[in-house]
């Protein structure tokens, strides 16, 4: 167990450096004269140039200098200092304001997934190959096949603009009702996957030997399903939901952009639209870290929850 966690941790560190190196190399390296780019059209005095060169270690050239500056960037990233966007706001401030909204949205999506996806998955798994099972399978295939850029604008148009069941956009400081429709749209994808996963897992466990034993002991079906089968079937589902929570927090770019929700994804969306390089890099770096950490937590959780699984 300890060895597994250690190995997984080392792997994450590698992935972290790999990803940040790529992000850094693409955004900041090889871009002509960075000092002139910072100043724009205005002339740069020799004193300013010397100061900035000193400040950002631009005098070190070659591969060594590149890594020197890269580690500077990583150090700032780990200390939570993400620099400023092109509009002059501190990126850490932008993110601090955006996180609560994004987390709220992700939690709504997660609740939708659990309430509808897992319940329907258990029912479909118990009545396998029935009408309910086949129709949910087809329905989930439909949901998995429809990209968010189709689902989000169409939901916004039909449910928000045409039939006016939900507010079409959220705006600043959104309440729960305004986040409900985006939450459902965001959660629909994980809902479909969670449903299929639960279904397969329940159906597989129903055929296991311990279920036959329980049945031959004369236990009622409800007890077999709720105590014996569910407990074992939900292990992969729980881990999937863990990965999804990480995904939902970083993955709401389209949904937040379409519904105008001032979360992290929305700021990234705006950063891309307005060509705000530093903002994009700052947010992407943070999101990558969130993604990596949530994957790590889930992997460790998986090993803890299911002692049958050994990673060696």
């Amino acid at each position: 167990m300890f060895r597994f966690i250690l190995r997984r941790l080392l792997q994450m560190v590698l992935a972290f450096f790999g990803t940040t190196l790529i992000v850094y190399a693409l955004m900041f390296a090889g871009q002509g004269d960075p000092i002139q780019a910072l100043a724009g059209e205005r002339p740069v005095t020799a004193a300013q140039r010397a100061y900035l060169t000193e400040k950002f270690h631009l005098d070190q050239t070659g591969v060594g200098g590149f890594f020197y500056r890269y580690f500077d960037y990583v150090k700032n990233l780990l200390q939570g200092d993400l620099g400023q966007s092109l509009t002059g706001r501190s990126i850490s401030d932008i993110l601090a304001a955006a996180w609560p909204v994004t987390i709220k949205l992700a939690l709504i999506a997660m609740a939708v997934t659990i309430v509808f996806g897992v319940t329907a998955g258990v029912l479909a798994g118990i009545r396998r190959a029935g009408i309910f099972d086949n129709s949910t399978l087809l329905l989930t295939l439909l949901v998995l096949g429809i990209p968010t850029i189709v689902l989000a604008p169409l939901a916004q148009y039909f449910l928000g603009v045409r039939w006016q069941l939900f507010p079409p956009t959220a705006g600043a400081d959104p309440d729960l009702y305004a986040l409900l429709l985006p939450g459902i749209v965001l959660g629909s994808l994980s809902l479909a996957t969670a449903l299929r996963l639960t279904r397969t897992s329940v159906a597989e466990n129903l055929r296991a030997d311990y279920v036959r034993t329980a049945r031959s002991k004369g236990l009622v079906k409800r007890r077999i399903v709720s105590v014996h089968v569910l407990r074992n079937s939900l292990i992969p589902v729980v881990t999937f939901l863990g990965v999804e929570l990480g995904n939902l927090m970083s993955g709401a770019i389209i949904t937040e952009g379409v519904f105008n929700i001032p979360g992290v994804g929305f700021n990234l969306f705006r950063g891309i639209r307005t060509e705000d390089g530093p903002l994009v890099v700052g947010i992407v770096s943070v999101l990558v870290v969130v993604y990596l950490v949530s994957n790590l937590v889930v992997d460790v959780l998986y090993a803890v929850l299911d002692p049958r699984i050994r990673y060696e």
């Binding site: 990209p147 850029i149 148009y157 970083s250 890099v281 992407v284």
Partner: protein, 318 residues
């Protein structure tokens, strides 16, 4: 982001061996009539599956649209007149005109080419990388496998959409060919890992078979064994994964174009049109609904096709 991530993730736990054993292996021991091969069995299953036929028909239709858009519409997608802004259906324009006064239907038909081109080429490139890496890792094992598997783990740990944003932001050229090439490259570089894992596991199963030992005893070298004996067995599951990946690559291309970092304006793409239609949905919804429907049906068709083929080859997953 998670369209393609979830599709890929749902592949992870379904990535089984696929058809094991040699397709043409003579195994009619004591059977009076010729037994059906695994592929024959799968084909019998597929023939009776309506979803297979529906999705195949859709795929053929979209492919025809991409190859010969002139068959479906006579109007030029770039023939736009502001005086026709949001005008109703007329002439050849089945669904009327969009905000810029372009024929909505014609734009949707012509959008098929970019989507399918990106989807097919990135799936092809992905397949090549996945086959090479999976084959090397599975066949040689030991340290080669250890190194390549770690590389797979790391690339798999990079969120696709975020990485694609960073990589594509670096491409400043506005030329259509460069942008299409860049999108294909980015999707292939980030999307090959699932395929490589599938190939690796089927190579590991295949290389333990007796016919591989027999070939080696007859003096066949590593290259010959890999290409002639193991590759045919690793191909079928890889193709299924790639069909589904093709669908998600099309969705990814549309998403990137929607964000404004994939393909750009002179190219006709569903993602660009959905974004443009979204802005003016209150005045007229058809410019949003039409390309959305085209995109959703295309992605669905590929995913359903791959799903049906996989079910036929691997019935225990049902």
């Amino acid at each position: 982001m998670s369209d393609f991530e979830t599709v890929a993730a749902s592949e992870n736990h379904t990535a089984r061996r696929g058809p094991s054993g040699e397709p043409g292996a003579p195994n009619q021991v004591g059977a009076p009539q010729k037994p059906r091969s695994l592929a024959g069995d799968a084909w019998r299953d597929l023939r009776r599956n309506p979803i297979f036929w529906i999705s195949l028909a859709l795929v053929v239709l979209v492919a025809a649209m991409a190859a010969f858009p002139g068959l479906f519409t006579a109007n030029d997608p770039r023939d736009c007149l502001l005086s026709r802004q949001h005008a109703g259906p007329s002439g050849g324009a089945l669904f009327g005109y969009d905000f810029q006064g372009c024929d909505t239907y014609s734009r949707a038909v012509h959008g098929a080419r970019a989507s399918l081109l990106v989807g097919a080429l990135s799936a092809l490139l992905t397949g090549l990388i996945a086959l090479t890496v999976g084959m090397l890792a599975g066949y040689f094992g030991r340290w080669v496998d250890a190194v390549l598997s770690r590389v797979i783990d790391i690339v798999l740990g990079i969120p696709l959409l975020l990485a694609a944003i960073v990589l594509l932001k670096r491409v400043n050229s506005d030329s259509a060919t460069v942008r299409i090439g860049a999108v294909i490259f980015v999707l292939a570089v980030l999307g090959w890992t699932t395929g490589a894992r599938v190939v690796r596991s089927s190579v590991i199963t295949a290389k333990e078979q007796d016919y591989v030992a027999a070939a080696r005893m007859l003096g066949a070298g590593n290259g010959r064994i890999m290409l002639r004996h193991i590759l045919p067995n690793a191909l079928a599951p890889a193709i299924v994964v790639l069909t589904i990946a093709l669908g998600s690559f099309i969705a990814a291309e549309a998403t990137l174009s929607f964000l404004g970092i994939g393909l750009k304006a002179p190219t006709t793409s569903w993602g660009i049109d959905i974004d443009a239609g979204r802005v003016h949905m209150r005045e007229s919804a058809t410019p949003l609904v039409v390309p959305s429907t085209f995109l959703a049906l295309t992605v669905l068709a590929f995913i359903m096709l791959g799903d049906a083929v996989r079910d036929a080859f691997d019935p225990k997953l049902r």
